[in-house]
Amino acid sequence: MAISGLVLVGYLVAHMYGNLKVFAGQEAFDEYAHHLRELGEPMLPYEGALWLIRIVLLAAIGVHIFSAVTLWRRSRAATGGKGSQRYASSKAPRGSQRSYASFTMRWGGVVIILFVIYHLMHFTWNTIAPGGASDSPYERVVNGFEIWWVVLSYTIALLAVGFHLRHGVWAALASLGANTSQRRRRNLNILATLVALVIMVGFLLPPFGIFFGLVG
């Protein structure tokens, strides 16, 4: 759970860097997208590096989902399927200190995987093209994010990612043994909040920039 999650966070940082190229203009963005396919040539074939990354990502996602389902099933078995709702009393619905992020991890994860499929249909497989199709990746991005409901759907997804990372980064590091003291616990939580904020804001800048006409 922890290691596959951190691999995916690392990928998000690289992905975010690519997205921010949209502010450098059409040429830079399209060149970046094209170059991703030529990365490592001639040592690697065309799209070779891209496929290596995709294989690592698919493996990480597979391991992440498998671990999540295992944990979810164990949790359901241990609590009669009710989790924190297993008490008849309704006086402490949020427990004593648990965060919104921590108890939306599982359903939040489901939201994120559904979004990823929609996102791949939009920009990778090009099965849907809100705003109009184009050969230029830059134009596809700009066309898409000029539509309010596309921007809204990406905003909702990134809020889910933000909450997921807020608890996930902390839990991953703690599960790998990094939480060694009270002070470390606080610092790891601050770090997780920062990672979540940076990724959320970094990914939301291009859609909002385009929507409000700052790009293109």
């Binding site: 949790s75 241990a78 924190s84 648990r98 608890h167 703690a174 003291s181 009270q182």
Partner: protein, 248 residues
């Protein structure tokens, strides 16, 4: 004080239970929660009803026998106290208080508010011990222990095994309990020979008993009457990872 109690009544593990309402009049604010239940039980007995079954022993917060989920929180609303050390002054006149047993699949209800915690005993039997020759006590200074380690081991050793961590955990995990036991022995020189097998065996028994996995939410440490801290779980993970890497 006049209190309305909603108490979980259940004849045994095989019959379904339900919340039942009782009125307790003239409660002294100085009574402990368990003394208030004693008063209610006297009333029930005099009226010919079945008294409410609940666990208790020392009633001074050090044995780990008592434990009730009060208003949805393990050991009630106050920090760092067991149920027996929770006093009625923490409530107000006219309050409606919900009282339930610990809930987790490995903690089956024996009767009313009493649950079977023998799964904790089996986790201890799996590795919560050291092998040392008994007989004459060794000299106190024969095995030097750094002060910081001794203090940290003692902090972990204050775990009384009450099970509040499981009752509070949204995953029904007993990781905090296992982590406290692993840390308490693993920080001391006497605990080193079995450190690897202890971590693996206790965790395996924990999973075998049907407890859930830890997702670092921290409700356990908030409910713990002894203030066992969440970083002990990271320590347990380190011992487990270390043991896996040493395994031949």
């Amino acid at each position: 004080m006049n209190i309305t109690l909603r108490v979980w009544r259940q004849q045994n593990a095989d019959t379904p239970g339900a919340m039942q309402t009782y009125q307790v009049a003239d409660v002294s604010p100085d009574m402990s929660f368990l003394e208030m239940l004693d008063v209610l039980n006297e009333q029930l007995t005099l009226a010919g009803d079945d008294p409410i079954a609940f666990d208790s022993d020392c009633r001074e917060g050090i044995c780990g026998m008592c434990g009730l989920v009060i208003n949805g929180l393990a050991h009630g609303p106050n920090e760092l106290v067991t149920t027996c050390q929770l006093h009625m002054r923490s409530f107000s006149d006219g309050d409606v208080i919900d009282v339930e047993p610990w809930r987790a699949q490995p903690f089956s209800v024996i009767k009313d508010l009493v649950v079977d915690r023998s799964s904790f005993d089996r986790i201890i039997q799996a590795g919560g011990f050291i092998s040392a020759p008994t007989g004459t006590a060794p000299d106190a200074h024969a095995a030097p222990v750094p002060k910081a380690d001794a203090d940290a081991a003692f902090d972990a050793a204050t775990c009384i095994g009450c099970g509040a961590c499981v009752a509070a955990c949204p995953n029904g995990s007993a990781s905090l309990f296992v982590a406290a036991k692993i840390t308490h022995l693993g920080l001391l020189p006497q605990g080193q020979p079995e450190r690897d097998s202890r971590a693996l065996d206790m965790l395996a028994q924990h999973d075998e008993e049907g407890f859930g996995g830890c997702t670092q939410i921290g409700e356990c440490t908030a409910a713990c009457p002894k203030g066992i801290q969440l970083d002990l779980i990271s320590r347990m993970q380190r011992d487990v990872l270390g043991a896996l890497s040493h395994r031949r």
